[in-house]
Symmetry: C2
Subunit: 136 residues, 2 copies
DNA sequence: CATATAGCTTACGTAAAGGTCAAGTATAAA
DNA sequence: TTTATACTTGACCTTTACGTAAGCTATATG
């Protein structure tokens, strides 16, 4: 039986390599996004490869506009049955499908917003050209 | 010399017709977006046609995703010379252009997110079919 | 006159995503 | 051993756009 040799990093180093602050990492743990990490004797948090992947995933989703609250919703279903990947996957597909719809909806909303802004912009631009706009 | 007969409304009625709360209107005054309105004897605020147009304009910009802070920037230019709509528009165009870019950026990000989710979804779907995925 | 309704000011509360400070502990280097 | 970092928890601070409550005034109506 061989001993697993995990490469462990502390919170400061992890934060630095990811370009975030330690507060952010602790905050994600605080709200349950990261799950309690292993501690050293003195209480110092340590992170292994899986922890780091998870954190990177969170940052990726955040970068793309998913709120921490939405991630918490996702995390519920992820964490409840972490054991059997086979039984969770159908549910996971369902969740992902839901998210695809949500994203599609957001894209549609933004596209509509964009059109409105552009239209409004051109009306204002007309004013600068001396055109008389209609009162709305 | 004829006396101007302005139709004046009070805050409650104005709020109701615009679908906002009185708090919102007072707040806009509080932060200088609306300028102090005329008061009746008892101190009750009254709004004339220009005030109402201005408030509608604010709501329109808000609807387009412009923050109250950004509007305050606009208001600076707006208040100095209230007559000339011409002096405010270039600044407004600038802000609107910035917003169009922002929205475009968000749309691009969401599109990218969508692709990622779809990819992830299909990898998971593969697992259900018995395929062995690569570790990423 | 009493009550109802609308208005007034002051000021604290809220959510999101952390920032910042305080006071204490642990570990490594000089 | 002293000093310098890095870490810990706890708790209050920040911003945005108002919500909400308290306590008071003014106007309309029965």
């Amino acid at each position: 039986m061989e001993i697993k040799q995990e490469k462990l990093v502390q919170i400061g180093e992890l934060a630095k390599t990811l370009g975030i602050t330690t507060r952010t990492i602790r905050y994600y743990e605080e709200i349950g996004l990261m799950g309690p990490s292993e501690r050293l004797g003195g209480g110092t948090r340590t992170y292994n490869r899986d922890d780091i992947l998870r954190l990177k995933f969170i940052l990726k989703l955040k970068e793309l506009g998913i709120s921490l609250k939405e991630m918490q919703e996702l995390a519920k279903n992820f964490d409840i049955n972490q054991q059997s990947f086979g039984t969770i996957t159908p549910k996971l597909l369902e969740i992902l499908d839901g998210h695809i719809s949500k994203v599609d909806q957001k894209i549609a909303n933004l596209a509509s917003l964009r059109k409105e802004i552009v239209d409004y912009r051109s009306r204002i631009s007309d004013i600068l050209q001396g055109h008389v706009p209609e009162v709305s």
